[in-house]
């Protein structure tokens, strides 16, 4: 048996507070299409970045065709014949396809002059050979998403890669482009190249992959072939079988509506999936979970409710008030709160103190606001209160937000958003990247808020979380709700299947 094209042995990568890869083993045979699947945060992307030299592992070794290769930069990977097609394309929009393709590996003549003719000929030849035609002179900005991806694939082939890594290659494509891509991948393996691709779309994986490796919680947990497994079993492997016991729901959902969306559609910007004809009602004292693979319209949904995006059709109501055209500040005054998915980008000023962060979003409301002035004393007192109530571990409220751990930052944010008696709370991935203790604390807070009669919309990729604390779960796929589930009656594998569209819901 020949040596495998790629072999990863005992790869471990730790980040502060989290282990992204734990003793990962992967064996990819030459000339095959190998799928790596797993939930968000299972460690797939980190593993691929390690393989491409962008991340250096703490332990373990990488073997290319049986020889251990030290990888400390993409240049090492390229030299070893490994190329990567990124999920978010790494192309410069203002440069042509040709310029992007040859970048870093230019055919040069005298005095460093680029031989454009040779480069063009080479690109056309590659396109013909692998039947991935592309116009070398086209400006990347003018290309469709599918063509940009072709550009990336050509870029990789141009460097003579024998192993192609594709990071969620189909997530940005429209269905016809997906078919085209899958056909191209088959053709590449037919030519003897090796393809490793990341996906969570199980149907695609089962169609195109020769072998499948499943990752969960930073480990590789299974290795299988499409013929030996069903999509349902795969989903089960992805999410694992252990589940928390759902806590008994003792609270009666009230009849009054906290948040309502009526036939809302959005235009969608760039890569973001747009919403089409969304109806959603969240009643007071209810947690509605939104399940879905990332990028299926969740961000648009959040932005529409917050007022960052205006819908092209439909209405948004907070309570009985129509806020479709209202500014975000008005919505917040009406009792809308928001726990953003990316706390560093949206929720916190990392270089500001805790009490200054406490004021964000409340700068126009008492007790922070007094006429045109900010009441610093009240803000400090209020922050002390939040720190005590939410068990934020900090030496003082004068420290910078960046000094806190992720979990404590998140507890502060949750505390802030609970202040001022909200009526509607949007919680987007509230426990992403926080430790187990903080996670439990945040779940308890969310349940307490529900008891107090707040309407909660929980957007999460963590199926345990959704099933554990939601009263109802809606599944979003390509900008539409495709199913509603009772968390007490559904297992994560069914939910996972519905999310990926592998199973008709």
């Amino acid at each position: 048996m020949p040596a495998p094209a790629i072999e990863l042995r005992g790869i471990t990568k730790r980040y502060p507070g989290v282990v992204a890869n734990r003793d990962v083993n992967l064996r990819v045979e030459s000339g095959t299409a190998h799928a790596v699947i797993g939930e968000n945060g299972a460690g797939k992307s980190t593993l691929m970045n390690i393989l491409y030299g962008m991340v250096v592992p703490d332990e373990g070794e990488i073997l290319v065709e049986g020889t251990p290769i030290p990888m400390s930069s993409p240049a090492d990977a390229i030299a070893a014949g490994i190329g990567m097609v990124h999920q978010h394309f790494k192309l410069a929009d203002n440069l042509t396809v040709l310029e992007n393709v040859i970048l870093g590996d230019e055919p040069t003549g005298r005095a460093g002059r680029i031989d454009f003719e040779a480069a063009r000929a080479r690109i056309v030849e590659l396109g013909d050979h692998y039947r991935i035609p592309i116009d070398p002179e086209a400006l990347v900005a003018d290309l469709s998403v599918g063509n940009r991806q072709r550009g990336e694939i050509i870029t990789v082939l141009y460097r003579g890669a024998r192993v192609l890594i594709l990071d969620e290659p189909t997530s940005v494509l429209v269905p016809q482009e997906v078919d085209e891509l899958l056909k191209n991948l088959r053709r590449l393996t037919g030519e003897g190249l090796t393809v490793i691709f990341i996906s969570h779309k199980l149907d695609e994986v089962l169609t195109v992959a020769d072998e499948i490796t499943v990752m969960r919680n930073a480990r590789t947990v299974a290795h299988t072939r499409p013929a030996e497994i069903t999509s349902r079993e795969l989903a089960q492997l992805m999410v694992g079988s252990e589940l928390p016991t759902p806590e008994p729901r003792t609270v009666e959902v009230r009849s009054e509506v906290g948040l309502r969306l009526e036939s809302v559609s959005t235009r969608g910007s760039g890569h973001e999936t747009s919403l089409s004809d969304i109806d959603l009602t969240v009643r007071s004292g209810e947690i509605v979970g939104i399940a879905g693979v990332e990028g299926n319209g969740q961000s648009e949904l959040i932005e529409t409710i917050l007022g960052l995006t205006s819908p092209v059709a439909g209405r948004v109501l907070l309570g009985t008030e129509d806020v479709t055209e209202a500014a975000t500040s008005i919505r917040r005054r009406l009792g809308l709160s928001y726990i953003p998915q990316d706390r560093h980008r949206e929720a916190l000023l990392l270089d500001a103190t805790l009490w200054e962060n406490r004021m964000l979003g409340h700068q126009m409301h008492p007790p922070i606001n007094r006429g045109v002035w900010i009441d610093r004393k009240a803000a400090r007192a209020d922050t002390e209160q939040i720190v005590a109530d939410s068990d934020v571990r900090t030496p003082s409220i004068e420290v910078l937000a960046s000094a806190l751990s992720g979990g404590n930052q998140q507890k502060l944010i949750v505390g802030r958003e609970m202040a001022g008696e909200p009526r509607v709370l949007i919680a987007a991935h509230p426990t992403r990247g926080v430790d187990v203790g903080a996670q439990a604390a945040i779940w308890t807070r969310l349940s307490a808020v529900r008891r107090a009669g707040v309407a909660v919309l929980l957007i999460s990729a963590d199926l345990e979380e959704l099933i554990g604390i939601s009263d109802r779960i809606l599944v979003i796929l390509r900008g539409r709700f495709v199913g509603e589930f009772d968390p007490a009656a559904i297992g994560p594998e069914d939910l996972g299947a519905a999310m990926t569209g592998a199973d008709a819901a």
Binding site: S45, P74, I78, D93, L95, T108, R113, I114, F116, E137
Partner: protein, 410 residues
Amino acid sequence: MSAVTEPRTTRSVWGRWWVRVLLALLLLSAVADIANTPDLLSRGAVSASLRFAVPIVLAGLGGLWAERCGVINIGLEGMMIIGTWMGAWAGFQWSPWVGVLAAVAGGAVFGAFHALMTVSFGVDQAVSGIAINVAALGLGRFLSSIFFEGQPGGGISQSPHVGQIGNVSVPGLAEALDPIASLETPVISDIAEIVIGVTTGVSLLTILAAALVFLSWWVLFRTSFGLRLRACGENPAAADSLGVNPNRMRYAALTVSGALAGLGGAFLVTVASSIYREGQVAGRGFIGLATVIFGNWMPGRLTIGALLFGFTDALRTRQETTMTALLIVGAVVFAFLTVRAIRARNRGATFAYAIAAVGLGWWFLGFGVVPSEFVGFAPHLTTLLVLSLAHQRIRPPQGIGVPYRRSEAN
């Protein structure tokens, strides 16, 4: 070949730059006749324009190199100041050419310093640039007090006399063209005057600057080094993923940027004057930055912008009456824009342009004189106007102003 760097669009003959230059020449020639201001296109005016334009071209090229690699270099002004001081310091002791070398080296050091601040220490690009400008001012005065005070002609705010860089002329050309120039045939004579202006008594540094315009274009758009540099200005993460180190490229780009600005400073000391004087740079670094935008981040067009500024600047210092001719030019240009706005059915623009056209024409016919308070401001105003009118299809490098940090997490 230009398709590699330019979007491929079929442009009418009016869109070609040489047609536009020819049209502008026709207009100026006609205006010189009508307003009876022969100095508008005289050889003197032409060679003065060149002299005023060269420092701005060099500053502009400096800005171009930095911005094409994704770093805004507001510190150009300061780097030019350093160039003037170093040029004078080395120039008066040894020779003007040593001064030029010292100016280039001084500028390069400050360019590299800007890179150290913005690339390695993550200081905001604008803050670092402004700091360099302020520091250069103070440094110039401080160093002058040490090195220039007590020297013959030197003081805290100026240097001793510095020798001049030599001039060259194309032999025989001026004599051959003189008869044509004195014919006073419109356009033909003007072209002869212009040719004489750009071939007679041209400083060697001017020739060097012209060569650097071409060289910058060639390096940036024809070599692998240039492609990598530009890629780092567009999408540094992409460049990094293909094995090009954006931080290293930015160091290189900023060092070149500073060197070019320093050379611009040297020109001020060894060609435009023969002395270092405080305040000599007078905002030319900033004007250079503006020409980068005007030139849509292309060296050739940037040079046209600098020449335009140099031209109005030269007119100002020669004969104030010549400025009145510019009133007609302005009126004609605005009349043209009015027609275009009418055709584009843009009511607001039509209105604004029409008022400007009528106002300028009325001023010329009614008063015939530009108030002297206004004259000194004319070059800036002209640049500002052209800049705001040329804003269509401007395409800055996408990664401009964004610090690049390699993130481990993704």
